[in-house]
Symmetry: C2
Subunit: 560 residues, 2 copies
């Protein structure tokens, strides 16, 4: 990993492989001379049109092609959209990974599941530490975010310093007592920052994001107001500080805490072992023990704040959880906001809980959630402290990047020095100049079951078609030589129409196809492909006319 000699006048090249014009799948690469370093390696959840897809990871073709240059992957924090693709990517790109203690702790759980832990080199770092990755000297800077142990990066290169904020907010009263290291950002700005890449997730929102500590005060009030009943809190398993505040409130009001949901149990275990979570003795109980306590002595912390189908809270709501039933007057706090796309699932879960008599606190009813991302005033603070020469907003949809650009413009940055980039576009930076020049491969690699990248647009198009109007299979057995009909045609449909109410339609369809086949027979046609085309067109027209639907039609000819 020792530095190679720089090419004279080497340029710094930067390209995002994920995290631009999207929320999630964050990954950025920097290349200088013979060295490449990578920031984060996240996954995204599938869009609505990616039917059947489990998750989406970045396309790392360029890195694999240049594997000899890749010095390592540096992680900013332990969220799925920053570390989730690593188990898949490391299989093809086995390079050292650098991160803080909790980030690597959460990553280890993942790698263990994928049987990748032994094969991976992990380096733990602490804020203010510096690591050399070839000619990149990477400095870790403490930040605040909705997961503990988050860092920004100052990447010192031969031509100047690049600051990447990771995901961040400015919390003056954070739970762990450590305010984001504003002084260091200021110091870097004083020394001169060549390029700033900064989190745009909340760039549309005015003002400041509230402190995590606010949520704790609201929890205390709710606990105070709930002297008799059981309390459940659903939140993100990675939000260790939020969990800490629930534990604190529970301890204050003499309640035991039980944890449910696989990812929550894992996160609490890891965070406790690494001492990011302080649970007083005799506070934590096993979920099996809750029957030994009265309702007023219990708090249950659970997954399911997004209404995920298999999560503990959803199963509780649907009466499908083995150990926990909702009781009337249970107080249930959904301490999270719904991620776009999850609104309907969350609504469904809340409705079911309310129907069972629970008292559910959600949405804007109380201040039970704060974002982990900086709003406009914090983003301006970051720009003011670092005073970058060039600026690239990162992490967000185009609308967020665009708002972030407007903020920078309003502070006087030259519009020619601000770059809204596309995935894969290369920003070429020298000491004095930055410009977009060329591209590297970038895009979405879909994971479906064990398959990585074996589902592409054709498969998705077929799934979409099947999902809309279903399928008709037409089978006919023809004589190999003469083309005369030996058996069939038979028609089998799935997902098209409820067959019992459409028997006539199916009979008629069969008749129409038979006529077309007899016509082919008469004309002595023996091109199977031609006959398949005839079957398809005939049936398609017939069905459209009768039903205004277009199921997928699969003509199959067996010859004997």
């Amino acid at each position: 990993m020792a530095g190679r000699k720089p090419k004279p006048k080497a340029k710094l090249k930067i390209a995002a492989l994920g995290g631009l014009e999207e929320i999630g799948k964050n990954m950025t690469m920097l290349e200088y001379g013979n060295d490449i370093m990578v920031i984060d390696c996240g996954l995204a959840f599938p869009e609505d049109d990616m039917l059947g897809i489990d998750l989406v990871i970045p396309d790392v073709t360029y890195l694999i092609k240049n594997i000899d240059k890749v010095r390592g992957i540096v992680l900013t924090h332990g969220h799925e959209d920053h570390i989730g693709a690593l188990p898949y990517i490391l299989k093809q790109l086995n390079v050292p990974v650098f991160g803080t203690l909790l980030t690597l702790g959460l990553l280890e759980n993942k790698l263990r599941e994928h049987k990748m832990l032994d094969k991976t080199v992990l380096h733990t770092v602490v804020p203010r530490e510096r690591v050399n990755l070839g000619q990149f000297n990477v400095e870790f800077i403490h930040t605040n975010h909705s997961i503990a142990d988050s860092v920004a990066l100052a990447i010192h290169t031969p031509i100047g310093t690049v600051v990447h904020t990771g995901d961040f907010k400015v919390d003056y009263t954070p739970i762990d007592g450590e305010i984001i290291d504003l002084q260091r950002f200021g110091e870097l700005g004083k020394e001169g920052v060549l390029l700033l890449m900064s989190d745009s997730t909340n760039a549309e929102r005015k003002g400041f994001t509230m402190s995590e500590k606010n949520v704790g005060k609201v929890f205390e009030k709710i606990f105070e107001d709930t002297p008799k009943n059981r309390i459940m809190v659903a939140t993100f398993s990675s939000n260790i500080h939020r969990i800490q505040q629930v534990v604190n409130a529970a301890y204050m009001y003499g309640r035991k805490v039980a944890i449910i949901g696989r990812s929550m149990v894992n996160a609490v275990k890891t965070a406790s072992e690494l001492e990011y979570l302080a649970i007083p003795p005799r506070t934590l109980i096993d979920i099996g023990e809750i029957k030994n306590y009265k309702d007023e002595q219990l708090v249950i912390i659970t997954t399911g704040s997004q209404g995920e189908t298999m999560s503990a809270l959803t199963r509780i709501a649907m009466n499908e959880h083995k150990q926990v039933n909702v009781k009337p007057e249970d107080k249930i706090i959904i301490s999270a906001s719904a991620i776009p796309g999850n609104e309907k699932n969350v609504t469904r879960v809340i409705n079911e809980l309310l129907k069972k008599g629970a008292n559910v606190i959600y949405g804007d009813m109380e201040e039970i959630h704060v974002s982990g991302h900086a709003r406009q005033e914090e983003l301006k603070l970051m720009l003011a402290l670092t005073k970058p020469k060039f600026f690239m907003p990162v992490h967000g949809e185009f609308m967020h990047l665009s708002c972030h650009k407007d903020l920078a413009l309003s502070m006087g940055l030259d519009k020619n020095n601000i770059f809204i980039m596309k995935l894969g576009e290369v920003l070429e930076v020298t000491r004095n100049e930055a410009k977009v020049n060329g591209t590297v491969p970038a895009g979405r690699v879909m994971v479906d079951g064990l398959g990585v990248g074996d589902v592409g647009n054709i498969v998705l198009r077929d799934r979409k078609h099947l999902s809309q109007d279903g399928l008709m299979v037409v089978v006919v057995t023809l004589d190999r030589e003469s083309g005369t009909i030996v058996a069939g045609p038979d028609i089998i449909s799935r997902g098209f129409v409820y067959v019992r109410v459409a028997e006539d339609l199916m009979d008629e369809a069969k008749k129409v196809v038979l006529e077309a086949l007899l016509d082919c027979e008469e004309k002595n046609i023996t091109s199977w492909n031609y006959i398949k085309g005839v079957i398809k067109d005939t049936l398609k027209n017939f069905l459209w006319q009768k039903t205004k639907r277009s199921p997928m039609i699969l003509p199959i000819i067996m010859d004997v």
Copy 2:
């Protein structure tokens, strides 16, 4: 339509056929003695799991069974979720329809498209008018909502008065100058209201909904601040008052107005003809004429505020609109909030518009939209004015109904007199008592193409399955007598995996199936069903083991 003699001590029965535990598809029936009347007849848009479904309408089995009793359908306003199912329902239930001028004007457009206009009896009513439907004396009361000409209903029955608010808000400065008829609600309350059914859509929200007039002021400010560029406004085509305010601002700043999007063109035409929309002379131009004007002389009013795929604004954003291209610096106002489920489509459209350099105002950036539904303080006002004996919150998810119930409780209503009902549940009301007693059929009838109700759960389950993992068709030709293999097995897949990258897998699959078939042959098995089962299980296990996916498997045996 003359009243029949009441049965002695007849009870009033009320059941919602739509609009409870859901947003949309509003429809309520009231039955007293030999008379049934119906309030509204709306459609709902399909849920995420209703793959391929175009829209959802109420189940009117009970009404059809009792068609001799049904005296008419009364409409509260012209939104899709109140009138949209009529063209389908009237085909089975041809009864007179009552509504205000604009409501029926919008309905006529629909009926004309469905070639139903000549067959339908429409009665125009005005606020304060009363209509007899058997023993129901129905009074129409002016309200405010996001569509003009909305009414609430006071239904005078032999045992007391039922008030149904329709959808409403309280607007003290409405665009048409007509404040909701609070006095009449008060008067009714004074006389005694037996049952109130009231709109719960915004029951979660604190405070008051802002006046529509606020939006007009914001429009004026935006027009003032946009002296040089073209302005486009996307909103709901039914929001005639919003459109009026755009027209007013355009007129004030000397701009011509062009209308695009089929439903917008229709709505503007109907509302102008009926004089609900006042467009100054020489203000409206055809979209084809925009090239004759400078940008600063133009406003385009368009559909597409929900990012609907085929809408005018979406096609403009995607550069697919024939007459309008986005220009850099166009000012585009999305004057609507995204209906749950549409957020991602709206985001996509905004991103595309921004990428093309447009200046887009959306979401909370300015106060460019107000809701048409009453918030908590208005709902309390309605409860206070009508002082009902019994209360049934309507129109909303369970969470909204539940919040509305809490409001009523907080005002001192007896909890035994508040009824959160399910679809189809019958509320039986006498002068002194109300109770839930029995059910009528109710549910979701799915419309897919020309099919109404021919797609049910089995079809949807198949579509879901197909959409997740695709399909494998296995065809084999067997000898009818001996069961020996004559041809095949062949395997055809769709939506499963990109076949070129999985050739080996497909070859292996074929081999595995062949082995299973040979095994059957050896055992002299001639039950086609048994053999189909063997094919299915063999392939299913093989594929799960290899890919962790479960495509639908369709085994087809042709015999010769």
